[in-house]
Symmetry: none
Subunit: 520 residues, 2 copies
């Protein structure tokens, strides 16, 4: 049992995924989530190459980390400048992170063809950059780009490049399979050779082009590596990076190394889903450890055995990673979740009531329609309250109309909403404009209600997410809207689903307001 350091690069390499684009706000939320999860190092981006990353680091400085150390990424300094004059190196230092990760070339072919400098000059660039940064930052990691290809082409030169970084004081030599082409057999041999040769700790940074990134990371650890770099859900350019969601439980549960606490490991599924949602991607059912199908049993012979002894067809206990067993014919797992929610919500409800099973059934039907209550727990709480008669209606909709009108090309359209509602205190008929139809409707609804419920003045919409559910039929499809609201003290999420985006938004907005008013 050794301590294996986990280095997450979701915010940099992960952001290279096709279709993934994180805003600064997204990146800050992911940072907080990964810190809480217990990741040791979080690479925030490349401040010298990307203005958005520079902005992220500025904001991240204000964030107080509980567990993780933040890393800024960059290349060895430009051959045409001295290291201290290189604006990219300056940008890295301006990020003021406790860790700096510098990648350098170790494959002679790349030095000649991509970097276009002499082999010796590249070694100098590595040495000069690492030793300069080592004076300014507490920890400097060296990412040995294309190390495995380089080693196979010219092992002597690849090792010289590591030697340059090590002698300059690098705190970790990270062997990168940049093209993702290496297979576990070679990884084992090459990592062992490096570990035996250097005093400096060795890390592994694998890409998944051969579908071996997780196995290669594990193999590297089995051969002496003490740091694994990867991303949540294997996000990343091309086929992605090593998936930390699979690497961490394998190291911890199977090889008995220590990465994060056992309690945090139980958040594995939650962390995976959180990043999927922020990435605006779909959950992958067959995803190892955390997918909905990962512990789902369909074959009849499996089901009867697995109900007696889960280990007959389950490689680990699903609760260790926050997942659970599902039997696809008759799903008994739902009830436990609802009982847990009732206790989470502190509702005064008998968990043995037969109504709990009705809620499980209702939820399944709603989920079939596209509802999703992860991230929309306020809607779930309302649903449970409604089942148990703990809900009272505070207003009725008489009607609304939303109009979007465009009268000239190149100009933004005007959006207006009218609304009429009935409350126990009277009828209100009002209107508002907005930046778009949902914004106008939200403003009109609040305007109508604030007269009777002034406490709504504290409520604001923090986030609004739209997901089109069934691809393949154009705009004629179901839409799920997730809304996050807050009143300065609390935050809550609500959900709506409809073929009509205005209706789906309306459902989520109404849930948000009802939740606030019922909570008082």
């Amino acid at each position: 049992m050794r301590k294996i350091e986990i280095y997450d690069t979701t915010l940099r390499d992960g952001a290279q995924s096709e279709d993934v684009s994180f805003s600064v706000e997204d990146k800050l939320r992911i940072l907080a989530k990964l810190d809480e999860f217990g990741i040791h190092y979080i690479e925030g981006g490349w401040p010298g190459a990307n203005p958005r990353d520079a902005e992220f680091f500025k904001q991240a400085l204000k964030f107080k980390m509980k567990n993780a150390r933040l890393a800024a990424f960059g290349a060895t300094h430009r051959a045409s400048l001295t290291v201290s004059k290189d604006p990219s190196i300056k940008a890295i230092l301006a990020a003021k992170t406790p860790v700096v990760t510098i990648f350098g070339k170790t494959w002679d072919f790349h030095v000649r063809e991509a970097l276009r400098v002499s082999l010796q000059r590249n070694l100098d660039l590595i040495y000069d950059t690492v030793s300069y940064l080592k004076k300014k930052a507490p920890q400097v990691f060296f990412d040995a780009e294309h190390f495995f290809d380089g080693y196979r082409a010219n092992p002597e030169y690849a090792l010289k490049a590591l030697e340059a970084a090590a002698s300059a004081g690098a705190d970790c030599l990270v062997l990168c399979d940049t093209n993702g082409g290496v297979l576990p057999g070679d990884v084992g041999k090459i990592v062992r050779e490096v570990v035996e040769r250097f005093q400096t700790p060795v890390g592994m940074h694998a890409h998944n082009d051969s579908e071996c990134a997780v196995a290669n990371s594990i193999t590297a650890v089995e051969n002496g590596a003490s740091q694994v770099q990867g991303t949540i859900n294997g996000l990343g350019e091309r086929c992605g990076n090593a998936n930390l969601i699979s690497v961490v439980p394998a190291l911890q549960l199977k090889l008995k190394h220590s990465c994060i606490t056992d309690d945090n490991l139980k958040k594995l599924k939650d962390v995976s889903r959180y990043i999927t949602e922020i990435s605006n991607l779909r959950h992958f059912k067959r995803q190892p450890f955390v997918g909905d199908s990962a512990f789902a049993h369909k074959a009849g012979i499996h089901v009867s055995a697995v109900l007696r002894h889960p280990e007959t067809y389950e490689h680990i206990r699903p609760d260790l990673v926050g997942n659970y067993q599902r039997v696809l014919v008759s799903d008994l797992s739902g009830k436990g979740n609802i009982v847990r929610k009732i206790s989470d919500f502190k509702l005064d409800i008998d968990p043995d009531s037969p109504k709990v099973l009705e809620i499980v059934k209702d939820l399944k039907q709603l989920e079939n329609q596209g509802f999703q209550f992860e991230g929309a727990e306020a809607s779930l709480e309302l649903l449970i309250k409604k089942s148990f008669g703990l809900y009272r209606k505070l207003f009725d909709l008489i009607g609304f109309r939303v109009i979007v009108e465009k009268r000239k090309e190149g100009e933004e359209p005007l959006s207006e909403a009218t609304i009429m509602i009935r409350t126990p205190q009277g009828i209100e008929h009002t209107a508002a404009d907005g930046n778009g139809p949902v914004n106008a409707l939200d403003k009109a609804l609040r305007k109508a209600l604030e007269k009777f419920y002034p406490q709504l003045k504290d409520v604001s919409l923090l986030d609004y997410k739209v997901r089109v559910l069934t691809a393949g039929k154009g705009t004629d499809t179901n839409v799920r809207v997730l809304v996050e609201s807050g009143d300065g003290k609390h935050k809550w999420g609500t959900v709506g689903v409809s073929a009509n985006i205005i209706e789906a938004s309306w459902q989520a907005l109404v849930d948000s307001i009802e939740y606030k008013l019922l909570r008082g």
Copy 2:
């Protein structure tokens, strides 16, 4: 270089995937596709356990295979019957396949807890079943269920089970990681031990619960296994089986073993997509070797290098597996990407024109606003055409109005759009309703234009995606809409960004129509 036999179980294990259900017709189509692809063995199903599989085998008898041999799957005979009386064994023989694959228990825990017979009785079941079938069928393979767990728990017994099958005449001892929990280090050691001990050829059947199924299959071959069992795209129960779409090219291109012909390997992407379509699943962009992103380059530094020397960031030549290189446009991109796009789009434009740099600048600004041209290449092509005067306007918007009206709680709102446009052929003023505001606007716009451009009748919306860009400000934020359209022959993607979702959708819809009309 050895010949490695590929054994496909998409039709049996693959059909256990959650959400996948193959009709007999589907199975026959997959059979034909895999036969043409050059797979050596195709497991058709379990005739003794599943009536649909029995029907499939009846039909498959009529199909003349070009390359593959069909296999029927089943268990060792029931302990309560003699082998010749067991109806499952009879059903297997009735399928009249040249290959029969029989699974048996090799983990003592499973013999006791799932099969509930004595350890010796289980060895007899294996021996009797294999030797009986061996008299009736040309080839009998033995699937050693839970072999790796069994070996770790009681190596002596696990090897005895193999010995029973081998001495009964089994043609291959297939080591199954049924629970998918084993890691490559153990696979290497255990496979080598078995290969050294037995004359009979050894196979590997891996599951992906640890995200190591492909690596484990490759490791087994590196340690002497000569058959790999798996499924197309890694379909299968829980997290799926070893993905043959990744195993085959790794064995053939990297380890230089012989599996299928080089010409057939070029069909890899086609075969993968064909099975995805029949499975009614989505193509996975990051899928190794065959995904749309597998050879897609986003980072600016990668792009300039990869255009000079693809091997700088590609582990294999994409055309060897029927895939191709793509250059993505993102805020990390530079001039090289645009030059590449001009050539992809076959535009008659001088790549050295100073306008190219202007486009790069414009793109950066648009990307800051939230535009994203990955997946919206038609919008990018229009943008480049506009810069170079290759665009002409085909209609002007005079105005549109979209109304969403709800008059009763619990009812879906009504959506209606009116539109007025001017074309060189005249003015059109019309209206349409729809499932939601965007659907209504799309219908109204097409209705107005189809009168003048009847070719638009072939165009349909295939996908519609919405992304809210800046979290943290509620509904008062920018929205990006991505639209995918098709006309039966081609597909194209367009993008729009605005604070107003209707305006963003409008931009993407207009781009889609202009792109189609300018292309002719």
